[in-house]
Amino acid sequence: MRGVTRVVCVVGAGSLLAGCGVAGGESRGGTDPNGVVRASWSDPQRPIEPGNTNEVQGGKVLGLITRGLTRYDPKTAESVNDLAESIETEDSRVWRIRLREGLRFSDGTPVTARSFTDAWNYTANITNKQVNAPFFQYVEGYADVHPADETARPRAKTMSGLKVTGPRTFEVRLTQRYATWAEGLGYQAFAPLPRLFFEDHAAWLRRPVGNGPYKVESYRRGKAMKLVADPAYRGPDKARNGGVELVVYTDPNTAYADLLAGNLDVADDIPAAQLPNAAADLGDRFVVRPAGIIQTVSFPFYDRAWRGARAAKVRRGISMAIDRDAITKRIFNGTRIPAKDWTSPVLGAKGGYDASVCGEVCSYDPKKARRLIEEGGGLPGGKLVLTSNVDTGSHRDWMDAVCHSVDKALGREHSCVVNPVGTFADYRTQVTDRKMTGPFRAGWQMDYPNIENFLSKLYYTDASSNDGGHSNPEFDRLIDQANAAPSAAAAVAGFKDAERILARDVPAIPLWYQNGSAGFSERVRDVALDPFSVPVYQAITVTR
């Protein structure tokens, strides 16, 4: 996790940033160790499973109930060993992992080396249809369990590169050198799984069992998920409250109103409409911090109309028709920053953030935008249909603004129309089912703080979150090369070379970097957001 600098409150209006980082300060008065924190949430797209959850809402739950080999410091995003006692390599190709002693799942069974290798083999195996399978693509034998042809049968059940060498030790052999491989291990796709997961899968899905500070008590779709603190949890980040109730909201404005009324303790994702009031309403109970989130608009490359050099020109034109400065200032009250590359400022300059990569493509130039779109043969189908879910993130507001901006550049009303989808889960399903006909929102919350995560998981051919289906052999080659680089600095330089191809192809239009925002009630204290913009639930204390 070298090069990851914490950017503290450098952006936006100063008044908004009161309470940046950990707010609420030290606990005064009595705390109730059994108090339950009520927090805003939205239904996950699919049932919770480490290998099959690649969106934010399901990720919140996995963050509560699972722990991996490493974890990311909630303040600095630094990757530190968690379940792993040591992760060693000599050649960045063979990695030897030793687990700490006495680790247990919340059902009492021990966490062993096999808990990891079984889980990873399960996720990678094509027959299990897990979206996070590509996270294991560099492990030797991946091609045997996950052939490139999606309909093919696997030639093996397990990856030859995973070898258990003892109850607490195992070895991972990669297909190539990969200097920063261990930095990704804190992502939830690498979490261990108990025997129950394999023996009674249906039961596990009904009530997931992990090794985190919380246990799932109940889940009612559309209502809430209740989690209770696991008293047997021995990790360093033991829950300081009795449990978390994740309450489903389909409108963040309702969540905000509930927060003010005292019916909700933590609301992350403060809606844009309330941002001008949040500082006055909440005072130091309003938290804003930079997060590893970039909002982009992606394109459906499975649609012929969006492929080819002429379409690339149109995409560049659309990007230049968007007035990012005005939208971030007026709609988001300065809590988002116009994007200048495809990564995030939280990576820092050493980590690969570079404001010069996007260049002209990310600037606002309506005249040139119009010329590019016309040269590229006009908008495919005559108009843009911009799609996103509208139950989170104030997406409706910025979509309207983007469409107005495009209309203005083209000098034609209704050249861009919005297609609002009611819920996050429904939207994600439409995206993964490849139902998009025009540009669609592709927000990216980093899985781990590394430039590699912002590029290869989104734009590498057939990557886990390559929703648009972008494919460029040159880009893939540069990514592989960067992964094989001997040092972290060389890797970052390699990834930046790959990123420059994105500036030419524009497979996704960078919109803005998103700060995490949250508000909390007077009933709770010690509420902070981690660099992923997720509340650090286990640290929250409930007052008596």
């Binding site: 404005n253 809606p271 409409a273 309330q274 001008p276 009031n277 007035d323 005005a326 939208i327 200032k329 007026r330 709609i331 409706r396 507001d397 309207d400 603004a401 107005h404 901006s405 209309d407 009303e413 209704h414 129309v417 919005v418 609002p420 009611g422």
Partner: protein
């Protein structure tokens, strides 16, 4: 005013023996005379006239486009040339309020016409033929009557997405006709038993002739009254569906949608909410007042 009516040839011909000072008039003549003396009718009539002008020629009142939005003006209050201020996107609220009238009026008028024809026809058939026709049609009416219309809208309209007003109009006609059918049926049954209908039957008139010449003209008044009063509620139903996101879709400008966007902003920019909401209330009120006035005029008991 009575002078004008006395010149009506139908009146003079129909009542040659009437007393000199107060000539007898038809139901409709009476109704018009009453209406023209009613302040409620005159006020609501003027408002509706204004509304129709705005709906069909919004360009007469503003040169702004409802789609010409500049984020630089986001949420600002009224400014010269922009009396109602701006919304979040920096669009002119005055222009949007004016253009929003069109969709509302279109939906109101077409739905009223639709339910009047559909409900009137089914109600008349049920009332006129009686027997199993009546049983069948009345049960169908009951079934549709039992469906909560907003719930039906959420289910059906969320599936049909089109950028025109027609799916909404079609849905509202399909689910809005039962009350009209009931009124029409009752009215037809009353008229059917009257002497002149029996006389026509005795003279050998066919069903079609009896219905068109004798029943319809005498049974239509209550149906008109109920439909007119309902027009206002159709407009508010359209706004409700649009507010919930299943009614009119952008880029069609509608008050319901604008109210929905403004609802989240009312603390920072209350003008965004007040203007379209005020326009909606005034429109619904005008049509309900008009309906009441027409009812008063057509119902002899109310005089």
């Amino acid at each position: 005013m009575p002078d004008v009516l006395q010149k009506n040839p139908e009146n003079t011909a129909a009542a040659p023996a009437a007393a000199a000072p107060e000539k007898a008039r038809s139901l409709w003549g009476d109704a018009v005379a009453t209406l023209l003396r009613s302040p409620v009718f005159l006020i609501s009539g003027l408002l509706i006239l204004l509304l129709l002008t705005v709906a069909f020629w919004p360009g007469l009142f503003t040169s702004m486009s409802p789609y010409d939005c500049d984020l630089a003006h986001s949420r600002q209050g009224s400014a010269p040339g922009h009396p109602f201020g701006f919304d979040v996107q920096g669009c002119d609220v005055y222009a949007r309020t004016l253009y929003g009238a069109k969709a509302s009026v279109e939906v109101g008028v077409f739905v009223t016409a639709g339910v009047f024809l559909l409900g009137g026809l089914l109600g008349m058939l049920a009332g006129f033929f009686g027997g199993w026709w009546d049983s069948l049609l009345s049960r169908i009416t009951d079934i549709f009557f039992g469906i909560p219309i907003v719930l039906g809208g959420l289910v059906i309209l969320s599936v049909i997405k089109a950028n025109t007003v027609w799916p909404v109009i079609g849905f509202m006609i399909a689910f809005g006709w039962p009350p009209i059918a009931r009124v029409a049926r009752g009215s037809v049954i009353t008229v059917k038993q009257q002497d002149f209908v029996q006389a026509a039957k005795a003279l050998g008139a066919g069903n079609g002739r009896i219905m068109l010449r004798h029943i319809v003209p005498n049974a239509v008044a209550p149906v008109i009254v109920v439909s007119t009063i309902a027009l206002g509620t159709y407009i508010s139903l359209e706004a409700t569906l649009s507010f919930l996101g299943v009614g009119l879709q952008p880029p069609t400008v509608s008050w319901g949608q604008d109210i929905s966007t403004a609802a989240a902003q009312y603390r920072n920019a209350p003008h965004m909410l007040l203007w379209p909401a005020g326009a909606l209330s005034l429109t619904v009120l005008s049509f309900i007042m008009l309906g009441e006035a027409v009812r008063g005029a057509l119902d002899p008991k109310q005089r």
